[in-house]
Symmetry: C2
Subunit: 415 residues, 2 copies
């Protein structure tokens, strides 16, 4: 089964918002063996929309459309559907009741803007939206299935999961598609390629390797397509295993396990409590760690001593360290770890201090100079990063390096 | 000038990564008056790539391609270019020298994988990559201009800004495009539509209004296209002004000013110091506040007391409050603010405690129950949010509500 994903809305084409819906849907479809052959973002102009929908229905069995639904003036997906299928609009009492119930909760009434939202193309099966007011629409004819959903991510996800997925599950493909992903951190694409490519010279053509680099980490994805499910699984397993072995401790997990989920599993299994002290990363590391459900089982708490005053007051960093070494120094991050461990009773602590930029750099310590320390009551390990000029990149990179340092510290000292 | 943006790579189509490059490029092109008519993500299969590039060159003057460049096996953009233009590859000594210099910095040598990277299509002008090894490529013939860049965002951005932008600046459009964006927070799309739509009945057709909702906030974007620049500017200015007036304090700024940038401007102008105490948001609010350069001028520091133990130890929250009211309560967040103000000497403090989910909910306090308090030495304002079942959505929404509460508190008490 082939699928095209169409995203509607000028706000994407002018770069005001990033389309995350397509990616999310593709990942879901992939698990069903449905091939996404194209993602396309187009303007919310009626004629162009109709043309693009026609083209997509021509080369796909399934066309998913997001965006262009909602109470306001710029919503025209319904018009495009009416034109494409040559149908009219009918008032849906179900939709009216749903909207009325939602607004009643907030003590608000049903308005004229809402009424407009209740008119639906005659040929559409309405898909219940448990997270918002605008229902999804499903239309099927000899050309294939077209599904339209709102552009708001959590509304789309609710409709997709609750309404569309059960229907798609009944129509799976014959060709099995499987992925195996190895998660690495600490080295770049080239170093990893040099390590593993020699092992893959005999890998069959139906398996492809992709390198998916991000700041500080690289995911290696093997994708196989084959009619024989067992052969596919075994071959993928074989090449995954030899790659993992060769990569050693550069590999921390498989199958899209995030580094933060890995740390949760690693530290909670060992009964270790972690604490953080973040200056230049401003809470981003703690946010990453706590973005995973269950992180309270090992993450006790953190400080964001953004000013030197707070570093001293909260963590007992001696003022002479700022004078002698500067706030961005090995001495200060190690003193931050010491204070952190004392104040929290954590087993392991991590501290970061750096110049995120774009201002604040000096000749000696340019923007991107970041010190990170990890330690426990017995010892500390510190590392100096020389990152980039880009603030958000520096913050993200420092968090990834810090997570990798925590990982290595725990693996080494709590074997 | 019309532009198509093509993104190469199976990792996008299977949903393993989100394409943020297209959005970033579109925003840049938009400022030059270049219309992005389409964004398209396609597989890294040679024949499909060639077809899509041909189609794009057919209906666009400029085609930007990202992805499919790099040292590893899955990089085939160069092959597609060679096939499309019927040219061969030539070794580039400049690229070799650049790569050698980069790796020398890290004490590493030039490898065979790097050598492969130095072969470039005969007809390509190479665009220097100051952030990585793979150069961009620019090819121009009677069909238009094709530019290929690496998929790693910061490398693409460097090439775009340093190499492509100066070239595009020389070829601007005749039709003026202008946007005016009003930033609102605190109400949804429908409430805002009901307020402003009656004022816009006489708005000319060459201006369009779009509602861009995100969690807790809505951006309103007016887009105009006209040959008369002055008329366009004045009309946009007029409708922006009447909308801003009608919206009152729902509108906090214009032109894509983020709420965090607004708070930086607001609090630093008044000489106020802010501190944070985040439980369920785990540092995300502080991260958002400190993502803006210059935030150290008003953000003194924060606590992430994830455990009750830390809430008591660091912020002096009385243990009886947990027993009598629970960690997620008005009493606890207000006590957190009190402790925070005492420990930091901040003027204004904000505290958050809630159940982010998916676990931890009770009948009385389901997942999504979040208390937020903002206060100073004289008074506190607290608010209960009943958010969703989605962890990341709850964290993001709580941070946006908290920022809005800070804004309103400061506007009211430090007028």
């Amino acid at each position: 089964m082939k699928c095209s994903i169409i995203t509607i809305g000028d706000e994407i084409l002018i770069g005001q918002i990033v389309d995350t819906n397509s990616s999310w849907m593709a990942a879901q479809l992939n698990l069903l063996g449905i091939d996404v052959i194209e993602m396309r973002s187009v303007s919310d102009e009626l004629d162009q929309m109709v043309t693009v929908l026609q083209q997509a229905l021509h080369h796909s069995d399934l066309v998913l459309v997001t965006g262009g639904l909602g109470p306001t003036k710029d919503d025209i997906t319904k018009s495009a559907i009416c034109k494409l299928y040559d149908v009219g609009l009918t008032f849906s009492a179900t939709t009216r009741d749903h909207i009325t119930a939602i607004y009643a909760k907030f003590g608000r009434g049903f308005t004229t803007a809402h009424e407009q939202q209740c008119y639906m193309p005659d040929n559409a099966i309405l898909l219940h939206n448990s997270m918002g007011t605008a229902p999804g629409m499903l239309i099927e004819d000899e050309r294939g299935m077209l599904v339209s959903m709102p552009g708001v991510p959590y509304e789309m996800k609710a409709i997709f999961t609750e309404e569309l997925l059960p229907r798609l599950n009944e129509r799976k493909s014959e060709l099995f598609i499987q992925h195996s992903t190895i998660m690495t951190v600490g080295e770049g694409e080239t170093v990893i390629a040099d390590k593993i490519e020699p092992l893959l010279t005999d890998m069959p053509d139906y398996i492809k390797l992709a390198y998916l680099p991000s700041l500080g980490s690289v995911r290696l994805r093997l994708t196989g397509k084959h009619t024989d499910k067992q052969q596919l699984e075994e071959t993928l397993k074989h090449y995954t295993a030899i790659m993992v072995q060769e990569l050693g401790d550069l590999a921390y997990g498989i199958n899209d396990l995030s580094l933060e989920a890995h740390l949760l599993a690693l530290l909670s299994a060992k009964g270790l409590w972690l604490g953080t002290a973040e200056s230049c990363t401003g809470g981003y590391l703690s946010h990453r760690l706590t973005s995973v459900a269950g992180s309270s089982s090992y993450f006790k708490g953190g400080y964001i001593p953004y000013s030197n005053e707070c570093k001293t007051k909260w963590l007992g960093v001696a003022e002479e360290l700022f004078v002698n070494h500067g706030a961005v120094s090995q001495e200060v991050v190690e003193a931050m770890v010491t204070g952190l461990l004392q104040n929290t009773g954590c087993d392991v602590g991590v501290a970061i201090s750096g110049i995120a930029g774009p201002g604040g750099g000096t000749l000696e310590k340019p923007v991107g100079t970041i010190w990170i320390a990890v330690g426990n009551a017995d010892q500390k390990v510190s590392r100096l990063i020389k990152a980039s000029k880009d603030r958000s990149k520096n913050i993200e990179y420092a968090a990834v390096v810090a997570m990798n340092m925590i990982r290595r510290f725990v693996l080494k000292n709590y074997a």
